[in-house]
Subunit: 280 residues, 2 copies
C-alpha cells in the first residue's frame, strides 16, 4: 500500500482505469473520485473505479495523499492550483495529460511549500470514453512518461514513478519539451492526420472503405474537445511535425508525378521497416 | 456450380482467399493456381486454396472457364493479353486489382472475339501477405466493385458479378474512373498518409507509440512493391486527393496557429461524425 487516500479528478476512461488498477492492486486504502457529473461518478463507483465521490474538487483533495488529474489538458494547471491551496503538506500531485510543457512550466512556481506537482503521461488510451470502458489492465506493460524539470523535487519524482509502476506500467523520465516534440510525431500528428483523412470522405464513398481505412482513421472517433485542447497546447511542436509530414507527402507526390518507381518503393519500404519494428 | 474450371493467377492473400472460398462453396469443380514460386504454390495447395498448379500462365489459362488475375496492378493487363491469346472462346477474365481505369482502358481493345475482360475490385484485404494468411471468409459481407464501361459485354458483367456474390460478397458496379477517384480517398491516400506518418518517427521515439499510432500506421506494413504500382497507376487521382488532404491539414494548422478552438473542434467533430458512421 503506497498511499492511504488517492483522489482521481476526472473519472473517465483513463481516470476510471487508474481507479480500478489502484483498487485491484491494493495501491491505496481509499479512492475518491471528483467529477462534474453525478451520473458518471455513480457509474465509476458501480464499475469499481472509486470508493467515494464528490463534485467539489477542494473536498476531494483535502484528505488525499496523492491527487491525479485526468481532465482535459487545458483544465489541469488551474485545477492543480485549486487543489494545492487546500491539500495537506506532503500531498503529491500528478496528472495524465497528453501534453506536458505548458502544464509543467505553469506549475513550476507558486505552489504552497511542501506540495509537489510532477507531470505524467501514461501512453495508453482508447478512442472510447467514460468509466464504462475503463480497464484495470490498461497500464500493464505500457510506458508512462514522467516529466520532471531541474526544479522538480526528486523525492516526488521517485514517488510518482513508483505509483505508475505499482499499476503495472514501465516508467521513463524525460523533460516536458522533449515529451511534447516526441508525442507530436507519435500521437498528436497521427490523430490530426486520421481526422483529416476521415473528414475528406464524402457520404457517397463511405461504403467504399475497408479495414485499412477503418484502422487508419479509428482515432478520429476521439473526443473533439479533448483533442482541440491537446492541439492548442502543443501548437508549436505540431507546426514542426506538420511541416515534416507535408514535406514527406511532397516526396511521395513528386515521385508519383515523375512515375519514379524506385523512390516510391524506397519511401514505402522505409515506412514498412518502422512499422514492422513495432509489431502488430 | 457456376464454372467447371477456375484459374487464379497470383495465389497470395487475395488469390488464396478466392481459391479457398471457391472450393468451400463449390463454385467450381477445379481450381488451378498460376504463380512464379513453386514453394508458394505448394503452400497454396496445402492450405486448400487450389487443386493444381502451374508456373505457366498459358497452360493455366487454356482450360479455364474463368481466369482471375490477383497480381500487382501493373502486371495485370499484360497477363490478361497473354491468357486471352490461348484460352478457349467464351472464357471470362477478371481481376482483383486496387486500380481499375488503366487496366480496363488498356483491355478495351484487341482481345480475341468471344473473350471478355471485366474489371473487379473486392474491398477486402490485409497488410499481411501470402496464401498462409488467406481466409475463405474474406469476402463475406464485403463489397466488390465491378467496373464495366459502355463497351463491356453485359452478360460478362452479370457472370462476373454472380461469381463474387457466390463468394459471399455484395456487388456494386461503377465506371473505372469513378472507382479510382473514390479509392484514392478511401484507400490509396490513407495508405500513403500511414506510410508518411510511420516514416517520420525516428528510432529513439518508437517506444513512445501507443495503440493509436499502431492503428493509424498498420497498413504501412503492406508490400512496398504492390503499393508503388498502385500509386503509379492512380497518380492523377492521387494528386487531387493529396491536394485536398494538404488543404485540410492547412486548415488544422491555421486554426492551431490562431489558437482558434471553435474551428479545431468543428474540424475534429466533422471527422468524428464520418468515422462514427462507419462503426468500429
Amino acid at each position: 500500500m503506497l498511499f492511504d487516500t488517492i483522489t482521481i479528478v476526472g473519472v473517465g476512461l483513463i481516470g476510471g482505469s487508474i481507479g480500478q488498477a489502484v483498487r485491484r492492486r491494493g495501491v491505496a486504502k481509499t479512492v475518491i473520485g471528483v467529477g462534474r457529473d453525478p451520473a458518471s461518478l455513480n457509474q465509476a463507483r458501480a464499475c469499481g473505479a472509486i470508493d467515494r465521490s464528490t463534485l467539489d474538487l477542494a473536498e476531494g483533495a483535502r484528505y488525499a495523499d496523492l491527487v491525479i488529474f485526468c481532465t482535459p489538458v487545458d483544465k489541469i494547471a488551474g485545477q492543480v492550483r485549486t487543489a494545492a491551496s487546500v491539500c495537506k503538506p506532503g500531498t503529491l500531485l500528478t496528472d495524465a495529460g497528453s501534453t506536458k510543457a505548458a502544464i509543467v512550466r505553469d506549475l513550476e512556481e507558486g505552489l504552497p511549500s511542501g506540495i509537489h506537482f510532477v507531470g505524467s503521461h501514461p501512453l495508453a488510451g482508447s478512442e472510447k470514453r467514460g468509466p464504462a470502458n475503463a480497464s484495470a489492465d490498461l497500464f500493464e506493460g505500457r510506458l508512462t512518461l514522467v516529466t520532471p524539470t531541474p526544479r522538480t523535487d526528486p523525492d516526488a519524482v521517485r514517488r510518482v514513478s513508483d505509483f505508475w509502476r505499482a499499476l503495472g506500467s514501465e516508467v521513463r523520465t524525460l523533460d516536458p519539451e522533449s515529451h511534447d516534440w516526441a508525442l507530436a510525431l507519435t500521437s498528436h500528428l497521427p490523430h490530426l492526420a486520421a481526422s483529416a483523412l476521415a473528414g475528406l470522405v464524402p457520404p457517397i464513398y463511405r461504403d467504399f472503405t475497408a479495414s485499412g481505412f477503418r484502422d487508419t482513421t479509428r482515432i478520429a472517433a476521439g473526443d473533439p474537445v479533448l483533442w482541440a485542447a491537446i492541439f492548442r497546447q502543443n501548437a508549436l511542436a505540431m507546426r514542426d511535425a506538420l511541416e515534416r509530414f507535408t514535406n514527406r507527402l511532397d516526396e511521395f507526390r513528386n515521385a508519383m508525378m515523375d512515375d519514379d518507381e524506385t523512390t516510391l518503393i524506397e519511401l514505402l519500404a522505409q515506412a514498412k521497416r518502422v512499422r514492422d519494428a513495432l509489431g502488430s
